[in-house]
């Protein structure tokens, strides 16, 4: 698919209108925000119907965002400053919002035995570990604040490049979700950049931790940019973004920040990854056990 120029978010049009009635009063959400409920409605009325490939792709992006939201949610009430309880909470909420939209759309292309779409909750709570399609970076443990920031730094630059391009998708729903997400991820990018600079340039201790955090996360960076048959087919059709096409901008932009912070790109071997095919690290099982426990105690219940 074509690559629009990097011009921030001024040129991105939102696909679907509608207010965000779930937003909290402390939270600032861009206007005309697309809600998961809007997508669910489109799915029910047949307006949004993903191809099998698009559904699988939406599942990947939804799982990434869901797993990250689950990780970040743990910080709320444990952050180094109240301002960070709020900031990390905001980022978690944004990611959860994106996850809900992508998963709702994915579920429309993965019907249950009776032919009805799977809901976001069917997918989040009732799949097993090997059925998750997130890449391994997202499930990496929070570690200390520097490790969380390192993960955020990689994720936010990756997601920004991805969503920026996905706004041009031939799949209108994917484009609409990306149009909302890219504005929010732009803020996440700013947040992580500021902290990388602060921690690298703060005290000896914080610099040491920042370097360690980046080294901990970097083995999982390569997996983000790996193409496979699915992304090749979808990219060919203009519906998705080839992961490999994001790498150049990602390397350049993260490289600029690291240079400003007087940090080096970590020289660590890449892990084999495999999350897109259901291969996960040891960490995901615990995360899912906690996330799914209550829903699974009451199968079929509504909340």
């Amino acid at each position: 698919m074509s690559t629009p120029p990097t011009t921030g978010h001024g040129d991105i049009s939102t696909g679907v209108a509608g207010g965000d009635s779930n937003a909290s009063a402390t939270r600032i959400t861009p206007g005309n925000a697309l809600r998961p409920e809007d997508i669910a409605l489109e799915v029910r009325t047949g307006l949004a119907k993903p191809s099998a490939d698009a559904a699988e792709y939406a599942l990947r992006l939804g799982d990434d965002a869901l797993i990250l939201a689950q990780r970040l949610g743990h910080w709320i009430s444990r952050a180094p400053e109240l301002e960070e309880d709020i900031a990390l909470g905001n980022i978690a909420l944004d990611q959860l919002g994106h996850a809900r939209s992508f998963l709702t759309y994915a579920g429309a292309g993965m019907p249950k035995e009776d032919g009805t779409p799977q809901s976001e909750d069917d997918l989040a709570y009732f799949r097993r570990e090997h059925e998750f399609r997130s890449v391994q970076l997202f499930e990496q443990p929070n570690g200390d604040f520097a490790a969380t920031i390192a993960r955020q730094f990689v994720v936010s630059y990756y997601q920004y490049e991805l969503y920026r391009r996905l706004t041009e998708s031939t799949d209108a729903t994917l484009a609409a979700i990306a149009a909302k997400a890219v504005k929010e991820v732009d803020y996440h990018r700013d947040h992580s950049t500021q902290w990388v600079l602060r921690l690298a340039g703060g005290t000896e201790e914080s610099r040491k931790r920042m370097i360690h955090g980046l080294r901990t996360m970097w083995p999982y960076v390569a997996e983000l940019f790996r193409d496979d048959e699915l992304t090749e087919r979808l990219a060919q059709a203009g519906a998705a973004v080839a992961p490999s096409s994001l790498k150049e901008d990602f390397d350049r932009l993260t490289g600029e920040v690291l240079a400003e912070a007087e940090l080096e790109v970590p020289d660590v071997p890449a892990a084999p990854g495999g999350g897109r095919g259901g291969k996960h690290s040891e960490h995901l099982g615990y995360l899912l056990a906690e996330m799914q426990v209550l829903a699974r105690e009451h199968p079929g219940a509504s909340w």
């Binding site: 909290s24 402390t26 939270r27 009430s77 444990r78 180094p80 960070e84 909750d121 209550l294």
Partner: protein, 339 residues
């Protein structure tokens, strides 16, 4: 979330401080202005003269309210990672985040009285400052997210709406925003319980169990009975507090009695009745011994809540130091550049 009827309003004879302080002419003029503002039911602002005891009472009340917001994040944060649907997870995260926001406004309001946030935080962690006792009870099931929203936030609203008219400007204004968000939270709590009550038998039982556990502690959020609340009188004279503890408690019971019917649940109190003579709602006896025990630090979660706050604070120390060091370096760079 949060409660304000925090029981450590000063024990000293608060009303008398100004008399001894008003030895200079400026103090006399200040006192006259203060008295006029209070008599007119108007607002005191940070730069206005105010009696030392008024400042002290407010500082304690506002900082304790702020601490309650911050500690109050914990019982609900306990369910963020286990919320049973993604929508509920999202709403809960936003709610706990709102509480951090409330803490921030309130610490800022308290700072206008001459205390730093760092000092207030240190006092909290050192166990020197109080927060609402209600947060020393555990959130044991998902239904507690409903009961906390409905009962605890509901009681907080009854307490807080009159505080929007508190005589101290920054406090009153902070409360306006907080109350808007609290009523949102209460509706969310009600909705959680309603959904559970209309769900499976196990869900309904979970909801009733949560209401049973949170009802009495929520009623005690209004503070001890009026006969046993010596400081309320001064706070009312200063237009900080507008209604007595028992008055607010009675109103709250009246609201809950109607709402619990809609929920299809019951209150664990067979003595709730409307007294035609006093025109007030009455309730069964409350265990004030338990209240005092929790207040004295011997509640189910006192140690856990403080330890968790201390841990977050200590673990974050290097981050705050780094941010301060970085800011100082940036400032130096700017100065060098300017020179």
């Amino acid at each position: 979330m949060a409660a304000q009827n925090l029981q450590s309003v000063p024990a000293e004879p608060t009303g008398q401080a100004p008399a001894s302080a008003a030895t200079t002419e400026a103090d006399a003029a200040g006192q006259a202005h203060f008295d006029r503002v209070i008599a007119e039911d108007s607002r005191i602002e940070p730069k206005d003269w105010m009696p030392a005891a008024y400042r002290k009472t407010l500082l304690r009340q506002i900082s304790q309210h702020a601490h309650s917001e911050i500690i109050g994040m914990q019982p609900e944060a306990n369910w963020i990672t286990r919320a049973p649907s993604l929508k509920r997870k999202s709403i809960l995260m936003a709610k706990v985040q709102d509480e951090a926001g409330h803490g921030l406004y309130l610490y800022s309001a308290a700072e206008t009285l001459g205390q730093t946030r760092d000092k207030m935080m240190d006092d909290l962690i050192a166990g020197k400052a109080r927060y609402s006792s209600i947060f020393n009870y555990p959130a044991l099931s998902w239904a507690d997210m409903g009961a906390i929203g409905w009962l605890v936030d509901g009681a907080a609203i009854c307490n807080q709406v009159p505080l929007c008219r508190a005589s101290y400007g920054p406090y009153g204004r902070a409360m306006v925003r907080i109350c808007k968000e609290e009523s949102f939270h209460q509706r969310q709590g009600f909705e959680i319980l309603l959904e559970l009550s209309n769900g499976t038998e196990a869900q309904k039982q979970m909801a009733q169990d949560a209401v049973n556990r949170w009802y009495a502690p929520a009623l005690m959020m209004f503070g001890p009975p009026d006969d046993d609340s010596p400081n309320s009188k001064q706070s009312m004279a200063w237009n900080i507090k507008r209604f007595s503890n028992d008055e607010l408690r009675s109103r709250f019971v009246g609201m809950m009695v109607e709402q619990v019917k809609v929920l299809g649940l019951t209150l664990p109190d067979d003595q709730v009745r409307y007294n035609e003579d006093t025109k007030k709602w009455e309730h069964g006896p409350l265990d004030w011994h338990e209240f005092q025990e929790v207040l004295a630090g011997r509640g189910p979660c006192n140690a856990q809540r403080l330890e968790r706050r201390r841990e977050a604070h200590d673990d974050g120390a290097w981050v705050r130091e780094a941010a301060a060091a970085y800011a100082a370096k940036q400032l130096n760079k700017q100065k060098e550049y300017a020179a």
